[in-house]
């Protein structure tokens, strides 16, 4: 099976290349037979990549340690579940997995459009196959072949880092990759639109769902990664502005901007060049992220010669794409002329424009901060770095501006908002937001950034609530429906709009959780059995954690030992439960691994980290004199709201993505909308 996979990898490249040529030539000369062959090549590449992937998984399951990749990420005792996820555990497998997902989406696109949108398809197929070819070239010629053999046969593999043996870590990379690859489809349509000259909003309408799907996966992938970091990395945070994290955030930022700006093009025929630029930029950033997440480029340029080959190939590819797209956009400039102008800064167009500019600004700051060591080394010969303080400082005002726009954008009138429109839509939500801000300030809080976040969040929530309420009431009155039924029909009739609002509610929750971080409290204490650690919550209660000692189990599962620091917890003197934080020694890993203890409630998490033991060896032997340990205890207010907010964003985007049953006549939607200005979403 594995050998078959290796052969399939070699066959896939010429098939993909040949298909690329056939599609472009077929499109150019209007030759249906060539186009059809190109489309068959898409399905063939998908089938071949399935075989390649199956070959890698078979090698993992069969403990074939003669393969470098298997020896690096697996061992005999590894759970089958983690052996299968070995396909995307490292750089080499990840590249195969990326190519597999891309070919899957390519196949779906080609199949779904076999009878329609034929004018776009030759170049769409060609572009998709060209990108597949690129990844196959990387796999075969950049020292990252997953089937590379070692010149000896190890008795066992290295094993998978225990920190990666976590549920969230198995689903985080594939989810992100689904997001990255799904974005290739809108990109391919954009290229096709440029080549064919069909530059109205058609290509956007065709790929809208793909854009949403990609965004949906990117969002989930990022949230899963945050969850993993919070549970597994053991410092109580979920985001560290690490280059790898930043790399996945960048395409999310530009994709979010794109998701909003296409609405301006669809409704007002504006921002056409801008959208072409954004789709190209987002695609380039997904490629950049794929490359960066599995390589050590930023961290250690000089140490890894083999990384250099792949870096050069990737950067060449990205440079080439940039040039091609720029040339195409310039060539089609006359067809990309805007149909309308911004008439006033107080208008929906303007709100969306600022939303876009600010998202792009955020992406630029993140990119700049991430690449700063490389830039300064290149320009000045010495590395200068920035860390979380920089990113937080710069992105908090940017985030607050976006939060405000999230309230304004959906309800402000197109073209030029009247004073009446402003008063009608914003008076109550603004007063509500100011009220929330004032209430916290009166209660004595002086965390101004956090209070501003709470105030703006209240403003956005009020706007969304009023929209839902007005819409439901109007529908109930006109159609004579009950409130629940009217609400259901309201959402069902314009899912993209209402799903979007639900996503906004999720975003508000996540922003609130970020602001909650301002009220974190932590204490590090070295304790002996019977000692107490006291910590208070910003919600006004106190926790007492009493350390009971370390309890060790030897030889359990795949662990040599598992040492648990055991604590009893009481809240305002009333017992609420027990917590443990552990040091674990896996058979296949040379150093102990920390497992944090988390006691979650809807408003806050109590978080315990087993930092250090004076005499760990003695503690592992359960010796009475070796029980002194250092523990860090944190109260993390509102952190759970990130996961709840993520869930709400998922629900909202699913509502927006879900295919509609037939098209809805425009009038049936328009007449239930509360206000003509708001109806034209």
């Amino acid at each position: 099976m594995t050998l078959l996979g290796e052969i399939a990898l070699w066959v896939a490249l010429p098939v993909a290349l040949w298909g690329t040529v056939l599609s472009f030539v077929g499109g150019r000369q209007d030759r249906g037979d060539l186009v059809l062959s190109g489309e068959r090549a898409v399905h063939a590449v998908f089938a071949l990549l399935l075989v390649v992937s199956a070959g890698i998984i078979a090698a993992f399951l069969g403990d074939r340690f003669e393969y470098w990749y298997v020896a690096s990420y697996s061992n005999r005792d590894l759970d089958t579940y983690y052996k299968i996820s070995g396909l995307w555990a490292g750089q080499r497998g990840s590249l195969v997995f990326w190519a597999l997902l891309l070919s899957l989406f390519s196949s779906i696109t080609v199949f779904g459009n076999r009878f329609k949108n034929r004018e776009f398809m030759p170049y769409v197929t060609g572009t998709l196959l060209a990108i597949s070819s690129f990844f196959l070239i990387v796999l075969l010629f950049a020292n990252v072949n997953p089937f590379e053999r070692l010149d000896f046969l190890p008795a066992d593999g290295q094993g998978l880092n225990p920190q990666l043996q976590n549920y969230w870590m198995t689903i985080h990379p594939p989810t992100l990759y689904l997001g990255f690859t799904a974005f290739t489809v809108p990109f391919a349509f954009a290229i096709s639109a440029l080549l064919t000259g069909r530059l109205d909003a058609r290509w956007l309408v065709l790929t809208r769902r793909w854009i949403l799907l990609s965004w949906f996966f990117l969002t989930n992938g990022i949230v899963f990664g945050m969850r993993w970091a919070y549970e597994e990395l053991g410092w109580g945070g979920y985001w560290f502005w690490d280059p790898v994290e930043n790399a996945s955030l960048l395409p999310w930022l530009t994709a979010t901007a794109f998701l909003h700006s296409i609405q301006i093009q669809e409704n007002r025929g504006m921002l056409k060049v801008w959208n072409m630029g954004l789709v190209t930029l987002t695609f380039l950033l997904t490629v950049f992220a794929t490359f960066l997440t599995r390589s050590g480029l930023i961290e250690s340029v000089h140490t890894f010669a083999q990384e250099l080959t792949i870096a050069v190939i990737f950067l060449t590819f990205m440079g080439l794409l940039t040039i091609i797209c720029t040339v195409l956009i310039v060539w089609r400039w006359p067809l990309l002329k805007t149909e309308n102008q911004i008439q006033s800064f107080v208008s929906r167009e303007s709100a969306f424009l600022f939303n876009n500019l600010i998202f792009l600004g955020a992406a630029f700051t993140v990119l700049w901060g991430t690449l700063l060591p490389l830039i300064t080394e290149g320009l000045m010969g010495e590395k200068i770095a920035v860390g979380p303080p920089f990113f937080n400082r710069v992105n908090i005002p940017i985030g607050l501006a976006l939060l405000a726009l999230m309230g304004i954008g959906p309800v402000i009138a197109w073209r030029r908002a009247s004073t009446r429109n402003l008063r009608k839509n914003f008076l109550f939500p603004m007063l509500f937001g100011i009220g929330v801000f004032a209430a916290f300030a009166v209660a004595g809080s002086r965390q101004w950034m956090a209070l501003t976040t709470f105030g703006l969040s209240a403003f956005v929530l009020a706007i969304v609530f009023v929209e839902f309420w007005k819409g439901t009431r109007a529908r109930a009155r006109i159609e004579g429906e009950g409130a629940a039924r009217a609400f259901y029909h309201l959402v069902a009739r314009n899912r993209r709009r209402w799903g979007g609002y639900i996503v906004h509610v999720g975003v508000v929750m996540i922003f609130t959780a970020f602001a909650g971080e301002a009220f974190d409290d932590e204490i590090t204490q070295t304790v002996n059995p019977g000692d107490q650690i006291l910590i208070s919550s910003p919600f006004g209660h106190d926790y007492t954690l009493e350390y009971q000692g370390v309890s060790t189990t030897l030889r359990t599962g795949n662990m040599a030992w598992q040492a648990m620091a055991f604590l009893t917890v009481s809240k305002n003197g009333r017992p609420v439960g027990t917590m443990t934080s552990e040091k674990r020694m896996y058979f296949t890993w040379e150093a102990p691994v920390t497992e944090v203890g988390i006691l979650s409630s809807p408003l806050e998490d109590l978080y315990v980290i087993f930092e250090d033991a004076e005499d760990l060896a003695g503690a592992v032997q359960n010796e009475a004199g070796s029980q002194q340990v250092t523990l860090e205890v944190q109260v993390n207010p509102l952190v759970g709201w990130i996961w709840y907010g993520g869930l709400i964003m998922t629900i909202g985007s699913l509502i927006a993505i879900w295919p509609s049953r037939g098209s809805i006549p425009a009038t049936s939607v328009a007449h239930v909308e509360p206000e003509p200005a708001a109806a034209a979403v």
Partner: protein, 153 residues
């Protein structure tokens, strides 16, 4: 997606201007944020050799916050108190250049002085020549990846 707003006779002049006003405005604000952010939070990212050279050249450089990165010296880690650690790192290119680091917080799980580990420490050099770290991170070549070549031994 309902109706398109009826296209009002758009004033041909001034509208495109607004786009550029917005663009320039946001660009200026973002540039300002980045500039102040970088100048106020940046740290030099140095190798042990570079750090020693800078301090030799200008003793006040000790006051600067720096990040120093190098190879963890095998067997150099020792505990000097509860949750208080001391270890040494060397320059990747010059093993003679050694920096002693002290750190009073939890070390990351990937910190292991029996293996090849690259360490990044943020903090400042004390007058006694010991680097007092406020943050210690480890970096593994490709994150969390081990080299199977080690299995050959």
């Amino acid at each position: 997606m309902t109706e398109h707003p009826t296209t009002a006779p758009a004033p041909k002049k001034g509208g495109g201007g607004r786009f550029f006003v917005g663009l320039v405005g946001v660009t200026l604000v973002v540039t300002y944020l980045i500039w102040t952010g970088v100048t106020e939070t940046m740290v030099y990212y140095l190798t042990p050799t570079e750090l020693m050279a800078r301090v030799q050249e200008d003793p006040t450089f000790r006051e600067m916050g720096v990040k120093v990165s190098g190879q963890l010296v095998k067997g150099s880690w020792q505990r000097i108190g509860p949750n208080h650690h001391r270890f040494e790192i060397t320059d990747l290119e010059d093993p003679q250049s050694v920096v002693t680091i002290e750190y009073a917080d939890g070390l990351p799980d990937t910190f292991n002085d029996q293996a090849d580990v690259e360490v990044v420490a943020e903090g400042r050099l004390r007058d006694d020549g010991v680097f007092e770290a406020t943050l210690v991170l480890t970096k593994c070549g490709s994150r969390y990846e081990a080299a199977p070549e080690d299995l050959a031994g």
